[in-house]
Amino acid sequence: MVIADFIPKNPGATLGFIVLTGIAAMAVGLLFMGIGRKLTARLQRRYGPPFWQSYIDVIKCFSRNSISHHYIMDLGSMMGLAGLLAAAMFVPVAGHLPFASTGPLIVILYLMPIGYLGMAMGVSASGNPLSAIGIGRALTLMVGYEVPFAVIMLSMIASFNTTGLLALHQIQQAGGWNLFTMPFGFIAAIIALQGMLAEKPFDTMIAPAEIASGPMVELSGKFLGMAFLQHAVAIFIETGIVVNLFLGGGRTIWEFLLKQFVLYMFAMALNGIYARYRVEQATRFLWFTAGSLAVVQLILNLLA
C-alpha cells in the first residue's frame, strides 16, 4: 500500500510528462536568455544576436571537447543541473504538474541549493582560486536573497495558510492577483528575483572583468553547456515561482509563459541599466531594502 502510492497510476504518462517538463524548462529558459540578449543589445543601440542564439551556443558547447581536473568536477556539474531540473518538476505551470504534488515552495527553495552546491563542488574541484572566490560570493549573495524571499513566503502563509504553489495559483484564479493585494511583497520579490537571477546589480559572482567569470572560469565544452542549461532552468523556476506567487499563475500555459517572459524582460532591462554592487553592499541592500519591504508586507498580512 505504501509502495503503491509511490508508484503513480499510469507510470508511462507520468514519466513522459516529467521528461517533457525538463526539456520544456530548458527550452523556455534558453529562449528567454536569447530574447534577453536581444533586449540588452537594443538598449545599447545594437542589433543584437538572433533570439535562437542561446540554443546555438549550448549545442556548440556540447559539440566541443572539454577539460576536467577530476571526476568530482564532472559529478558536480551533473549534480548541478540535476538539482535544478528536479526543482523544476515541482513548479506548477498554469496549474499543470507532471505528477501529483502541491508545488511545495520549501521543497523548491531547498532543491535549488543542491544544484548550486553541486556546481560549487564541481568548480572548486577544478582548483582555481577565482572559482572559489566566485562561489563564496554566490553563497553570500544567496543568504542575501533567500531571507527576503522566505519572509514573502511567510506572508503568504499568514494570508492563505499554505505554502503550496498550486493552492496559491487556485486562490488567485478565484480571487485577484496577489500583486494588487500585497504590493510591498511584490517589490521585495522583484528585488530578490534580480538577486536570484544574478543579474546586475547583483552579478558580483560572475564579474567577468574582475574574477574571470567566477565559478565558470574552468568550465569548458559540455560543462559550460551544463552551466548554461542550469541558468536556463533557474530562470524558468524563479520567474515561475514569482508568477505563481504574485501574478495569478495564468489560466493557460501561454499566459503563464507570457508572464514569466515579462518578468524576465524587466529583470534584463534593469540588468542593462545598472552597475555592479560589491557583494557585501548587495547583501546589505537585499536585507535592509527588500527584507524590510517584505517584513512590512508580513505585518500587514498578519494584521489583516
Binding site: M78, A82, S101, L111, I157
Partner: protein, 622 residues
C-alpha cells in the same frame, strides 16, 4: 527486588559500569583490549535495547531497599537505542582509529560513560538521574582532557560549565521535591504542573534551574561557546560522540522536565503558545543564528562543526518550543538525524586527521582526491546538515519549519531561515577547504582511510540517505514513542497543515533528473583530464612565480566580506570573557584549597575533625 535477569536495565548499567572499572584498573597496558571491551559493551547495550523493546513502563524495577528506580519509557528507550547504535558504529571506528600513533586511553572511561548514558535515559527518579548525570559529567571531563595541556584547559572550561549545570539541576530537583514531595520524575513534574495557579514563583525558580542545567549541557543560548573548545580539543573519535549524542542529554531533559512545565502554564500566550515556550523558541532561534555566524568565521574544522552543532541544537529547541505533537516529532526527528549526520561528518574529519594530522582548514586541501570515501561521507553529511533533499536533514528541517508555520509563529521562522541558508556557507567552506581545491605536495601520497573506518562511514552514509528517502524509518518509531496518532506521517509522506511532502518522490525525482543529466553528459564530446595546476592564470605559468599548491589554495578568510559585516555585532555580544573569568576563578579556588590540604599537618587535621564529627553524629543517632 533487583532482578538478576541479564536483560534488565539495572544489570545493564551496573554490569557496564563494572566492566569499565575493570578495564580501567586491569588493562591499562593493553589498550586494544580496552577498546574491544568498549565495543562489546556497546554491543551488549544494543542487545539490551533490542530486548527491552515493547516492555514499557510497568513497575519501576528497584534493587531491594534502594531508592534508585529505573523505568523503561518508550521515549527513553528510543533515545537509548539511537545513541547506543551510533556509539557502536563510532566504537568500531575507534577500534581502527586508535592505532600505535593515535592511541588514547579513554576507552574505559567511555565505557563508564555508556553506563551513565543508559542511566540517564532509563532513570525513573531524580536521584538516579542526577547520579547518572554526574557520572556522565566527570567521565566526559576526563575524556576531553586526555592528558594534553591544551585539552586540559578546554576540559576545565567544560567542567566549570557542567558544575553550573549540575548544581542548578540539584537545586531544581530539591525545590521540586520540597513542593511535590516525590522524587519520581513523571509524578513530580505532573503534580508541579498543577501548581502554576497557586505557587508560580517556586515554579519559576524550578524552571529557571532546569533550563540552566539543560542549556549548559546542550550549549543553548548564552552557553553557546563550550562546544567550540571541548569538541575541538577532545579526541577526534570522541568528538563525534560528544557532538552527536552527549549534547542531546539536555534535549532529553528539556523534553521530560521543562516542556511539560511550560506547556501547562496558563498565563499569557502568543498565538496559543504559552509565553515561556515562545521565549524558549526565540532562545533556540537566536542560538541557531549565533552558531551559524560563528561557524562562518571559523578556520579550524572541528570548531566549525562544533558551532554547526550549536546551530542545529538551536533548531531542535525551536521545534520543541511549539510543544505540539508535530513540533515534538520534528524536534526528536531532527535530534536523531543530527546524531547520524554529525557523526558521519566528524568521523570523516577524524579519518582526515588520522592521515594528515592537520586541523586548520587552510593547511589542508584536495584530500578528497586521495580519500574518496571520506569525501563522499562528508558530502552526504553536509547535504544533510544543510537540510537539502534527498538527505535526512531535509525531512526534519522541513518538519521544523512546518511546526512553526502550523502554530503561526512566523517571526520565529525568519531566524530559522537565515540560519539554514547561511549554513550552506560554512558547510561548503569545509567541503572546499578540506577536500577540494589544490592538494598540497606533502599530502600527495597519503593513503585512503583504513577499511574499517570506510565501512563505518559507508554504513552511516547509507543511513543518512535512507532516512532522507524514507523518513518513516525514524519517524514511525518517534510517532509511536510520542503516542501521536494525530501525526499525519507514514513511511514516505509527511503532512503538515500548511503543506505536505512526499520525500520518496523528491528523492526519486532527483535521481531521475540525475540520470537525465548523465545522458547529457554522455552525449557530449569526450573530456580530457589535466593537471591540477593547469588552470587559467592569464597565461602565466605558476612555476615561473614559484607558486606552490598551498599558496594557490584559496581557503583562508574565505568569507571576508561576510565576516566584516558581522564582526562588530559578534564582538559586542560575547559571553566568552565572562565565562573565562568564571573558569579562572574555579581553578584558583580549587588550587588554593589543594595547597592548603597539601600543607603538612592539615591533612591530619581534616581527618581528625571528620572522625570527631562522625563520632558525634553516631552518638546523637544512638
Amino acid at each position: 527486588m533487583i532482578s538478576l535477569n541479564i536483560f534488565s536495565v539495572s544489570t545493564g548499567i551496573i554490569g557496564v559500569f563494572i566492566l569499565g572499572v575493570i578495564s580501567l584498573a586491569a588493562f591499562g597496558r593493553v589498550r586494544k583490549l580496552q577498546w574491544v571491551l568498549f565495543s562489546l559493551a556497546t554491543l551488549y547495550l544494543l542487545f539490551l535495547a533490542y530486548n527491552l523493546y515493547g516492555k514499557w513502563g510497568g513497575a519501576p524495577e528497584a534493587p531491594e531497599g534502594m531508592i534508585f528506580t529505573l523505568m523503561n519509557t518508550h521515549l527513553g528507550w528510543l533515545f537509548f537505542a539511537f545513541s547506543t547504535g551510533v556509539t557502536f558504529l563510532i566504537s568500531l571506528f575507534s577500534l581502527s582509529y586508535n592505532d600505535k600513533k593515535h592511541a588514547t586511553g579513554i576507552a574505559p572511561l567511555w565505557t563508564i560513560l555508556m553506563a551513565a548514558n543508559t542511566g540517564i535515559f532509563f532513570a525513573a527518579d531524580w536521584i538516579t538521574f542526577i547520579i547518572a548525570w554526574e557520572l556522565m559529567g566527570w567521565t566526559s571531563f576526563f575524556i576531553i582532557s586526555h592528558g594534553r595541556e591544551k585539552s586540559f584547559q578546554a576540559g576545565i572550561y567544560y567542567y566549570a560549565l557542567s558544575l553550573i549545570g549540575a548544581s542548578a539541576l540539584l537545586a531544581g530537583v530539591f525545590i521540586l521535591h520540597s513542593i511535590t514531595g516525590t522524587f519520581a520524575i513523571r509524578e513530580s513534574i505532573q503534580s508541579a504542573s498543577a501548581l502554576w495557579s497557586t505557587r508560580p514563583g517556586v515554579l519559576y525558580a524550578v524552571a529557571l534551574f532546569f533550563c540552566t542545567a539543560f542549556f549548559t549541557k546542550s550549549a543553548i543560548g548564552p552557553f553557546y561557546m563550550w562546544p567550540a573548545k571541548a569538541h575541538a580539543e577532545a579526541p577526534d573519535d570522541f568528538s563525534a560522540f560528544l557532538s552527536g549524542i552527549m549534547i542531546k542529554y539536555g534535549i532529553f531533559g528539556l523534553l521530560i522536565a521543562v516542556l511539560p512545565l511550560f506547556a501547562s502554564y496558563a498565563g499569557p500566550a502568543v498565538k496559543g503558545t504559552p509565553i515561556f515556550l515562545y521565549i524558549l523558541g526565540w532562545v533556540g532561534g537566536l542560538t541557531a543564528v549565533l552558531g551559524t555566524l560563528l561557524a562562518v568565521r571559523e578556520n579550524d574544522m572541528k570548531r566549525l562543526m562544533a558551532f554547526s552543532t550549536v546551530s542545529n541544537v538551536g533548531f531542535i529547541v525551536l521545534a520543541l518550543s511549539t510543544a505540539t505533537v508535530f513540533g515534538l516529532a520534528a524536534g526528536i526527528f531532527h535530534t536523531f538525524n543530527h546524531m547520524v549526520f554529525k557523526a558521519v561528518i566528524f568521523l570523516s574529519m577524524a579519518s582526515v586527521k588520522f592521515r594528515t594530522g592537520e586541523r586548520d582548514m587552510h593547511r589542508l586541501g584536495g584530500i578528497g582526491y586521495r580519500m574518496p570515501i571520506a569525501f563522499f561521507a562528508f558530502l552526504l553529511g553536509i547535504i544533510a546538515a544543510a537540510g537539502i533533499p534527498p538527505m535526512s536533514g531535509f525531512a526534519s528541517k522541513w518538519m521544523v519549519f512546518q511546526s512553526l508555520f502550523d502554530n503561526k509563529l512566523l517571526f520565529l521562522a525568519i531566524p530559522a531561515f537565515f540560519a539554514s541558508t547561511a549554513a550552506f556557507m560554512y558547510l561548503y567552506r569545509g567541503l572546499h577547504s578540506i577536500y577540494l581545491g589544490q592538494l598540497p605536495p606533502r599530502f600527495a601520497n597519503i593513503k585512503a582511510a583504513p577499511p574499517v573506518q570506510m565501512l563505518v562511514m559507508l554504513v552511516l552514509m547509507l543511513m543518512v540517505f535512507a532516512v532522507g528517502a524514507f523518513p518513516g524509518i525514524v519517524l514511525m518509531p518517534v510517532k509511536a514513542a510520542l503516542g501521536a496518532d494525530s501525526l499525519a506521517a507514514d513511511f514516505m509522506k509527511i503532512e503538515g497543515i500548511t503543506s505536505s511532502v512526499n520525500l520518496s518522490v523528491v528523492a526519486g525525482i532527483f535521481m531521475f533528473a540525475f540520470i537525465g543529466t548523465l545522458v547529457l553528459y554522455i552525449i557530449g564530446k569526450p573530456r580530457k583530464k589535466v593537471e591540477p595546476l593547469d588552470t587559467y592564470t592569464s597565461g602565466e605559468d605558476p612555476a615561473d612565480w614559484d607558486m606552490t599548491p598551498e599558496q594557490y589554495h584559496y581557503a583562508y578568510r574565505f568569507y571576508e566580506p561576510f565576516e566584516k559585516m558581522f564582526n562588530p555585532i559578534l564582538e559586542a555580544l560575547s559571553f566568552e570573557k565572562w565565562f573565562d573569568g568564571f573558569r579562572r576563578h574555579i581553578v584558583r579556588t580549587s588550587e588554593s584549597f589543594g595547597r592548603w590540604l597539601h600543607r603538612p599537618g592539615s591533612g591530619a587535621f581534616v581527618l581528625t575533625t571528620a572522625l570527631i564529627l562522625i563520632l558525634v553524629m553516631g552518638i546523637v543517632v544512638w
